[in-house]
Structures are given as structure tokens and as C-alpha cells.
């Protein structure tokens, strides 16, 4: 049975106030379309998890959706601060924000433990750092084969994970290429999974290259067809990362009023991603269009 639905319905039915939510994707395939719909629907008290909160959580936190942030790198990559997150942490604007902080590897370990249903995950990091003293959930266990100690992190199991992908069938079996980041682990770890795809394809396209399937439909609750849904992040082979947007966000986000005005115009003022695509205009998308670089194909062989 098809799981294809609208972003509006997927968010309304699967994201609840107070949920632990992961919209993952490391630089690549960050689902801004889902974040904007969460803002539009006025979800509250979310615990937002991501390695890099990026602009998506800067926007959601400015909109007042979150009460807590679980993260490992709090910057606008290559540009500077995430000003809205800083305002929340430093000044409680628009609301106080609790933070739970790891290194990248620490949070990677949490997602792996979550996906693998392990009670903890060992990572050879944190030694000599103040991070364990700032976060009591980073603990140690004794190595039963030697006399050392190893740091461990607890599992992270989001209530909802949103994974943006290049293509999926209507049951959510999804191909990703380029950076796959933590997409598999974040999805396997979650109670509910929303797959958002640039293209919906026939199951046969997925089955033709099973090594490319990062997300099995088995763990997917809803599939949303949302072209350009990752902008200003990107989808490898579909559109470029919008570097100008990331640079332009810096002055907007420095001021809560300016940021709120931006949300009014680009989120609350639109009904969904299709509107956003239209408002951006064909010229903007043309500029983000990459040239071709085909993978070549391999033969799986027909065996009878």
C-alpha cells in the first residue's frame, strides 16, 4: 500500500508536541521543507537533534518550536554563528533553550546505538576534554580485556526522523548517493520515519540497484514527494548548495525581528514547498543546476 502523502499531513499526523525530532543530513539533504511545515503547524516543546543544527534548526528555534537542542556543532558552516540558537541559549529569546552537547563522533555513536538497540556505544574520544564534565550522559566503562577505560554514549532514539532522499518508491524504499551522513542510523533509530523525496520512482528502479538503498520501506511511515525540499541545502545531482543563502542568512539571523519577518514571508506566508519553489523563481533554480556526471552502471547479473 502506498505511503505517499502531503508534507502537511505527514507532519500533522507524525510529529507531536514534545517529540524528540531528528531532521538529519550532513550538509547534504537537509529537509528544510519539513522544518518549515513544523513551524507553520506551530509544533512546540520539541527536542531537536542534529549533528549540525544548521539554518533549519536556527529557524525552528527562532520560531519557538523547541525546548531543547541535542547537537555537536553549532555553526553556520564557513560563515559563522547560528545567531538564533545563540540568542536562545545566551538570552532566552524567544524562549530558553536547554542544550545537550557532544562531539560529532559522540553523537554519531548515539545514533548508531539507537539504530542497533545497544544500551551504549564506545567511542575513543572525549579523553582530556571538558565535554564529559559538561554532559553527565557521557560516561565510561572499563575495558574487560585491559586496564583502560573507554568513553561511552547512550542510544538516541528519536520519536520522528525526517530523511530527505534523491528518490524513493511509494513504500519508502529509498536510494541516496553522495553524502549519506547519518541518514541510515537516524532512520533506523527512530520510532516513526518520514521520507521526503526529490522523485518518486517505481519499485523496479530501487530493485535494479539494491546496494544504493539506504532506507528500507520497512521502517518508513510516510513518503512525501517534495522537489527542491532540501533548499538551501542540496541534493547531489539535482541542485547545488545555495552558498549565497547561507551567507545572506547571517545578517538576517542577527536580529530577531528581521528573522521573524523572514519567517513571515518565506514560511508562514506560504502554503508549502511548491509555493516556495515558485516564489524563488525559475532563474534561482537555474543557477543551482549542476552539469552531468554520471556514475556508470554495473551488472548484477540475471541468475536462473
Amino acid at each position: 500500500m502506498s505511503k505517499v502523502t502531503t508534507m502537511k499531513d505527514a507532519i500533522a499526523q507524525l510529529v507531536r508536541d514534545g517529540d524528540t525530532v531528528a531532521i538529519e543530513g550532513f550538509t547534504h539533504l537537509i529537509c528544510f521543507a519539513a522544518g518549515h511545515e513544523i513551524i507553520r503547524q506551530g509544533k512546540r516543546d520539541l527536542i531537536l537533534c542534529r549533528l549540525t543544527p544548521d539554518l533549519i534548526y536556527d529557524q525552528m528555534i527562532a520560531a519557538g518550536c523547541a525546548s531543547k537542542l541535542v547537537f555537536s556543532y553549532l555553526g553556520n558552516p564557513g560563515v559563522g554563528s547560528l545567531h538564533a540558537v545563540r540568542r536562545a541559549v545566551e538570552k532566552g529569546i524567544p524562549a530558553p533553550l536547554e542544550v545537550e552537547e557532544y562531539s560529532h563522533f559522540g553523537l554519531v555513536g548515539r545514533f548508531i546505538a539507537g539504530a542497533a538497540k545497544l544500551p551504549f556505544y564506545p567511542v575513543r574520544t572525549f579523553a582530556g576534554s571538558d565535554l564529559p564534565s559538561a554532559n553527565p550522559r557521557i560516561r565510561q566503562v572499563a575495558d574487560p580485556y585491559g586496564d583502560g577505560q573507554v568513553y561511552v554514549v547512550p542510544p538516541l532514539n528519536p520519536d520522528v526522523t525526517v530523511v530527505h532522499v534523491q528518490r524513493a518508491d511509494e513504500k519508502g524504499n529509498a536510494h541516496i548517493w553522495g553524502l549519506t551522513g547519518m541518514q541510515a542510523e537516524a532512520a533506523f533509530a527512530a520510532v516513526r520515519v518520514i521520507v521526503v523525496a526529490e522523485e518518486i520512482v517505481d519499485e523496479a528502479v530501487v530493485r535494479a540497484d539494491p546496494n544504493r538503498t539506504v532506507i528500507p520501506g520497512l521502517i518508513v511511515d510516510a513518503v512525501v514527494h517534495e522537489p527542491y525540499g532540501a533548499h538551501p541545502s542540496y541534493a547531489q545531482g539535482y541542485y547545488d548548495r545555495d552558498t549565497q543563502f547561507y551567507l545572506a542568512w547571517d545578517p538576517i539571523s542577527r536580529d530577531h525581528q528581521a528573522l521573524s519577518a523572514w519567517l513571515d514571508e518565506w514560511v508562514h506566508g506560504l502554503s508549502g514547498r511548491a509555493d516556495y519553489v515558485e516564489k524563488m523563481g525559475a532563474q534561482a533554480w537555474d543557477k543551482l543546476q549542476p552539469g552531468d556526471a554520471w556514475s556508470g552502471q554495473v551488472n548484477y547479473g540475471q541468475y536462473r
Binding site: 556543532y73 541559549v89 563522533f105 559522540g106 579523553a127 576534554s129 547531489q236
Partner: protein, 254 residues
């Protein structure tokens, strides 16, 4: 006046440190341009690893972020982050990692987390990202930072990424990790670490800089090497590659 900026000197000096390196873990910003410059000059066999999951990138442009699509197309291998952090970094395959910081102490410990107290900070910085594990698990660490008293401080507000801790053998007592920071490349000179005490020592001054001017920017009485040298300035070829190929908009020039 020199015909290059202090930033350009810093980038060129960083690239030169990669002369014998085979695999480098590339960070955002200056390390990114330094590694790309090294690959085009002193270390053509250098393999670039990005925490996003990329091994053997051949970027066609200088990316703003370390997860840019240009790092993926034409790369040798792209893997999930779980594999990158576990099999490449923790697995001991990284020769050199680059780090920067908001605060650095004399032992090369780094703070990128908070200015002020952790709970209720004056300034909330980005945090670790991959820095803490790079600091521990790369065989060597190079630090790039502009000299100034707010950065080079007597005492960190928070240790995000361990350097030589309290000096002497305090780092090696942590366990089986990499050897830690080996150089700090700044806009005025290069600092290295004393073999025994592991304290920072000014080893080389960039052309036109003085020991006094460097000390002025450092928050503790700075050790100076007996054989203090002058850094070789950038060559015209290095400057051309940076200006024409890597950073045509001049973003990293100032």
C-alpha cells in the same frame, strides 16, 4: 610592504607543513584552503579526508562548507559518517588533522565551546564538531590561529579539544592516542612544542614580525627558540594558485 597578506602567509606556511603527509583530515575555513594549496604544490599525492564522509576528494572549487557537493563528485570513496569516524579517524589512518580555536593555551589545548561559564555563557561558540576526536586520534595536529590576547590565553574557559593538557607526559598518560599538536601556525609566526615540557615555543617569525610584537599578543610569557628563524615568504606561484584558482573572490585573503 610585502605583496601578500598575513592570511596568505599563514595559509602558505600551513600548506608547507603537509610536505610529507599522505592523508589529511580537512576542516572548515583556512585549513580547507591550506590543504587544497598543499595538494596543488608541496604534496600532490595528499589525500583529503572530510568528516562528512569523503576520502580522496578532488574539489573543482573551494567549498564554503566541508559537505559541499563538489567534494563528492570525482572523490575516491564516499562513506557513511559512522565509517569515516570509526574506520578512518579512530582506525588510525589520518596523518594530520587541522584545528582552529577561539582560545588556545600554552600546551595547545583548545576551546571552541564557550566564553564564560558553561552554564550561562557570555558567548556560546560552535562547540566541538569533530575537533575533540581529531585532537585525540589524528597522528599529528596542526593548529591555525591568528595571534591575539583574546585567543592565546593563560587559562581556557573550557577544554573542548585536548592538546598536551598540563604538559610533560600528561597527554601520553591519557592512553593510546595521537601525538597531539606539533605546530601552531599564526599570522605572525610559527610556534612549536618543547619536546619535554610540551610548552609552546616561538620557532619562526614571518617576515616583518618581531618577537616583541608576538609576545604582545600572547597572554603568558612566551618561550622563544634559540634557533629562531624567519619564515620563507610565499612564492609567486603559491600566491597565483591561491588568488586565481582557490580563492578568486578573496574571501580568505584578509
Amino acid at each position: 610592504m610585502a605583496d601578500y597578506s598575513a592570511s596568505e602567509m599563514m595559509i602558505v606556511a600551513s600548506a608547507r607543513e603537509l610536505v610529507d603527509a599522505r592523508v589529511v583530515f580537512v576542516g572548515i575555513g583556512l585549513p580547507n584552503i591550506a590543504c587544497n594549496l598543499a595538494q596543488r604544490t608541496v604534496a600532490p599525492e595528499l589525500e583529503l579526508v572530510y568528516e562528512a564522509g569523503v576520502y580522496g576528494a578532488r574539489p573543482s572549487r573551494l567549498p564554503l562548507s566541508i559537505g559541499d557537493p563538489c567534494l563528492v563528485t570525482g572523490a575516491m570513496s564516499v562513506v557513511p559518517m559512522s565509517q569515516l569516524f570509526q574506520y578512518y579517524l579512530q582506525g588510525g589512518l589520518i596523518d594530520i588533522g587541522f584545528l582552529g580555536a577561539a582560545q588556545i593555551d600554552r600546551y595547545g589545548n583548545l576551546n571552541t565551546t564557550v566564553i564564560g561559564p558553561y552554564h550561562g555563557p557570555k558567548v556560546r561558540l560552535p562547540g566541538s564538531g569533530g575537533a575533540c576526536e581529531i585532537a585525540l586520534l589524528a597522528r599529528k595536529v596542526l593548529i591555525i590561529a591568528r595571534l591575539n590576547r583574546r585567543t592565546f590565553v593563560e587559562r581556557l574557559d573550557f577544554v573542548t579539544s585536548p592538546g598536551h593538557l598540563s604538559g610533560d607526559d600528561s597527554r601520553s598518560r591519557l592512553g593510546d592516542y595521537g601525538q597531539g599538536p606539533t605546530a601552531v601556525i599564526t599570522d605572525m609566526g610559527i610556534l612549536r612544542f618543547d619536546e619535554k615540557t610540551r610548552e609552546m615555543v616561538l620557532a619562526s617569525l614571518h617576515p616583518g614580525c618581531s618577537v616583541e610584537a608576538v609576545q604582545e599578543q600572547v597572554g603568558w610569557p612566551l618561550q622563544v627558540a634559540d634557533d629562531l628563524t624567519e619564515t620563507e615568504p610565499p612564492t609567486p606561484d603559491q600566491l597565483r594558485i591561491m588568488r586565481e584558482d582557490l580563492d578568486p573572490t578573496g574571501r580568505y585573503r584578509q
